[in-house]
């Protein structure tokens, strides 16, 4: 059996006195597509933000490719990871945000090129070619010299995906990437994610409220409730056949 690329081991997270994650155990395998669903405030965003190193766990371990993300060995003692350690590991991870977070002072081509050039030290010419290819793939080949402010929400989100993809991550995280979009723009973004999910061998973790989409692309669905994984299984097991009343209650909100 293949080894997981990410392991959460009894991960807890508190903000102040409030424990929002109460012991998460989770394996993510290479190329696996995982959808995370659950009520608002259940901790979905927090789970993936800890993997992106945007939030530090209060307790437990996150192992990426065999290496402990938040702890490092210093003279035989495990201490809190420093920036250097985090940077070594998080190069494998990419993330797309709800509110795009494009760099407004750069063209969309520059948005894509900045990190490969400065972080990976790649040649500008190669990066440019790869970025243009990627922007074409998300359907924005004719906009490479535009600024983000000149794009629609759906276009911005597609740029954000291209920007993350040119870094060639092994794991991509998506945090409700369509929920800030006008309804008529959701489709074009889901289409791009579907394309990536079907054709790339990255692992993907998608926090989403799009149940049909989750059914379509996810190998595994996690139902998060009040800081714990309350149910998990294949997409169809969780979304179509779950007998857990909490899951049913949650899903009933999406059926009209």
């Amino acid at each position: 059996m293949t080894k997981p690329i990410v392991e959460y081991k009894d991960v807890h997270k508190s903000f102040g006195d409030v424990e929002v994650l109460k012991g998460i155990d989770l394996d993510i395998f290479p190329a696996e597509k995982i959808a995370v669903i659950g009520p608002s405030g259940s901790g979905k965003t927090t789970i993936i933000r800890m993997l992106m190193t945007l939030e530090e766990p209060t307790d437990g371990d996150i192992i990426v490719d065999g290496k402990n993300l938040w702890k490092m060995d210093k003279h035989g003692k495990m201490v809190e990871a420093d920036e250097k350690h985090l940077r070594e590991i998080r190069g494998d991870i990419g993330m797309v945000f709800q509110h795009f977070n494009l760099f407004p002072h750069m063209t969309i081509l520059e948005n894509c090129m900045t990190a490969p050039i400065h972080v990976k030290g790649e040649k500008k010419k190669e990066v440019k070619k790869r970025s243009i290819d990627m922007l074409e793939r998300v359907g924005l080949g004719d906009k490479i010299n535009n600024y983000p402010s000149q794009l629609s929400g759906g276009q911005k989100q597609r740029v954000a995906m291209a920007r993350a993809l040119v870094m060639r991550p092994k794991i991509m995280l998506f945090d409700e990437v369509t929920s800030a979009l006008d309804p008529e723009l959701v489709g074009e973004v889901l289409e791009v994610i579907r394309d990536i999910a079907k054709n790339d061998d990255m692992a993907m973790v998608l926090v989403t409220h799009e149940m049909d989409f989750a059914l379509d692309v996810a190998d595994k669905v996690l139902f998060l409730d009040d800081g714990v994984i309350a149910e998990q299984g294949s997409a169809s097991d969780v979304i179509e056949h779950s007998e857990n009343p909490r899951v049913q209650e949650f899903l009933s909100r999406f059926r009209s």
């Binding site: 920036e83 998080r90 991870i93 990419g94 977070n101 900045t114 870094m167």
Partner: protein, 219 residues
């Protein structure tokens, strides 16, 4: 008319001092503003506190008192010669406005959306790269109008150096007046016009800065 011309001619002997002090002290103030504004955001409490002390000290006391401290008090108390009057003027104005500008720098850096920092981390940029390529370019755009406003204020502030016997525009005006009391209103009118004409390009640049800043992207 003849009077105005001769007054202008006399005043223009001070132009070089006024302009050179403005340029040198604003460059010094920008530098101080950036250094202390960024230090103010440091992770280390001691650095933050120390920088804060400088900022509050210079914002909380008046420029003219600071000028006199540098000119009269410090050389007597510590036996340090700070250099020519010109240098003392530049240091005093630069330190004073640097303190104000540091708050502009800090405020602008903090005003950049947190999502920008998060995107930079997600793309694995280092702290330095994040500052250099993502945060500062956006913060600087926000700062431009305030930098313009403070530069106009610095121009006005340069007039104080006539009090440590530097021969700027106001200094020559005062000399003229003392030998020509009846002409005082006219002399001060011409002085006003001098400062206003000097301020015009700065006002224009500040307007331009506001446009750039509003657009968020320079192109």
């Amino acid at each position: 008319m003849q009077d105005i011309l001769s007054i202008s001619q006399e005043l223009s002997r001070g132009l070089f001092v006024t302009i050179s002090i403005l340029i040198a002290s604003s460059l010094f103030a920008y530098l101080m503003g950036f250094i202390s504004g960024l230090l103010r955001l440091s992770k280390h409490t001691v650095i933050r506190k120390f920088t804060g002390l400088y900022i509050e000290l210079f914002r909380g006391t008046s420029l003219i008192v600071q000028l006199f401290w540098l000119y009269y008090a410090i050389p007597m108390l510590f036996g340090i010669n700070l250099g020519s009057n010109w240098i003392i003027g530049v240091i005093a104005i630069g330190l004073n406005y640097g303190a104000y500008l540091s708050e502009v720098v800090r405020g602008s850096v903090e005003a950049v959306d947190d999502g920008q920092t998060e995107a930079a981390i997600a793309l694995n940029l280092s702290s330095f790269q994040k500052m250099r390529y993502i945060i500062l370019p956006q913060a600087v755009r926000m700062m431009l109008p305030e930098f313009g406003n403070y530069t106009i204020q610095m121009l006005k502030g340069t007039a104080l150096v006539s009090l440590i016997s530097l021969n700027d525009i106001l200094y020559y005006g005062n000399i003229l007046r003392s030998s020509n009391l009846s002409q005082a209103p006219l002399i001060y009118l011409v002085i006003l016009i001098f400062y206003f004409v000097l301020a015009l390009p700065l006002i224009f640049l500040t307007r331009k800065a506001e446009d750039i800043s509003k657009k968020g992207v320079a192109n």
